[in-house]
């Protein structure tokens, strides 16, 4: 089974079809998607600037991230659910769209960056929790995170201009 065939199958399902046939469902879901995405990205800007040692300097990294991460994950889940619904209603079109593919790639890269940071760099957090400037590996993680997530937002906005 090809991914394209899978996309065609998805968009033929009842819920995606209902979203596609409704005049108002897509914009409303999109509003929630934009709200949750700007929340996630806005929070990550704050966290990444701290990792870069540029803002919230008096806050230990572990304390700041500990407070924000549950909210970021919650909003990210909302974003994924609403995003999946938007994708599902014309899944095959999105599947063929270069901007959409680029956004998915950037999301994977952002996720890998976060996973590496947590599995490797985070183990020594006690040593650099308050250190300014933070070690190069921490600053690099902050920079790449900021770059990938900015890419996700920009490329995401661009999808709407390239579909059809």
């Amino acid at each position: 089974v090809s991914l394209y065939a899978l996309a065609r199958w998805i968009e033929a399902q009842p819920l995606p079809s209902a979203i596609r046939d409704s005049a108002t469902a897509f914009p409303w879901i999109e509003c929630v998607h934009v709200m949750s995405a700007t929340f996630v990205y806005g929070m990550l800007i704050i966290l990444d600037l701290r990792l870069l040692g540029l803002a919230s300097k008096d806050q230990p990294v572990s304390q700041l991230s500990g407070r924000m991460v549950p909210w970021v994950w919650g909003a990210f889940c909302v974003s994924v659910i609403t995003g999946s619904l938007l994708f599902s209603q014309t899944a095959s079109k999105y599947y063929l769209n270069t901007m959409f593919r680029t956004k998915m790639l950037l999301l994977v890269l952002a996720g890998l960056n976060m996973a590496l940071f947590h599995l490797i760099t985070w183990r020594s957090v006690a040593a650099w929790d308050r250190r300014l400037p933070p070690p190069a590996a921490v600053r690099l993680a902050g920079f790449t995170s900021l770059a990938f997530w900015t890419g996700v937002i920009v490329v995401g906005r661009w999808i709407g201009f390239t579909l059809e």
């Binding site: 914009p27 999109e30 509003c31 934009v34 709200m35 995405a37 700007t38 929340f39 990205y41 806005g42 929070m43 990550l44 800007i45 704050i46 919230s56 407070r67 924000m68 909210w71 900015t150 937002i153 920009v154 906005r157 661009w158 201009f161």
Partner: protein, 161 residues
């Protein structure tokens, strides 16, 4: 009356040299909208940090005044950035925004959100570590979050008129 004014103003901008110049810039619309979205994220992130602290949902151990002092500059800076990119969007496609009810409601809500946050800045003491928000600051924090959500919603709906 307001409609006629909005349409006349739109026509004036559309046919002006600046308007024509912006309309002819390649990819100007998606670039400006992307910048607008980045600015909105800065506003939402910093405002949420303040509002969630006031509501006792995040960061309860840090004095509210300090959280506010930390994020208010980002809130206003981000808002300036949003206003600037928004202005460019209006100058490029004035008849898309100015006569739209969604746009007009969005601007009213924006004024309300600015007023709510100025009021919050005045209500929360800067250097009182023991101060905890009561009903009024909490209600304003809810209003702030709801207003940003409303502004985003109206903004997105402008595209579907």
């Amino acid at each position: 009356m307001l409609d006629a004014y909005a349409q006349a103003l739109s026509h004036l901008i559309e046919t002006s040299r600046l308007g024509v110049f912006l309309q002819n810039l390649k990819n100007e619309v998606p670039i400006t909208q992307s910048l607008h979205l980045i600015g909105i994220s800065i506003v939402v992130g910093s405002s949420a940090m303040i509002d969630l602290r006031l509501l006792g949902l995040m960061n309860r151990t840090e004095p509210a005044g300090e959280v506010m002092a930390r994020f208010m500059p980002a809130l206003w800076g981000g808002l300036g950035f949003v206003a600037l990119s928004g202005l460019v969007m209006i100058l490029t496609e004035p008849s898309r925004a100015l006569p739209a009810g969604e746009f007009q409601r969005k601007m009213l809500a924006l004024l309300a959100a600015v007023a709510v946050n100025i009021l919050l800045r005045r209500l929360v003491p800067r250097h009182d570590a023991a101060w905890q928000p009561r009903a009024v600051p909490k209600a304003l924090a809810v209003a702030s979050l709801v207003l940003w959500g409303f502004i985003i919603t109206e903004g997105r709906w402008i595209a579907y008129r």
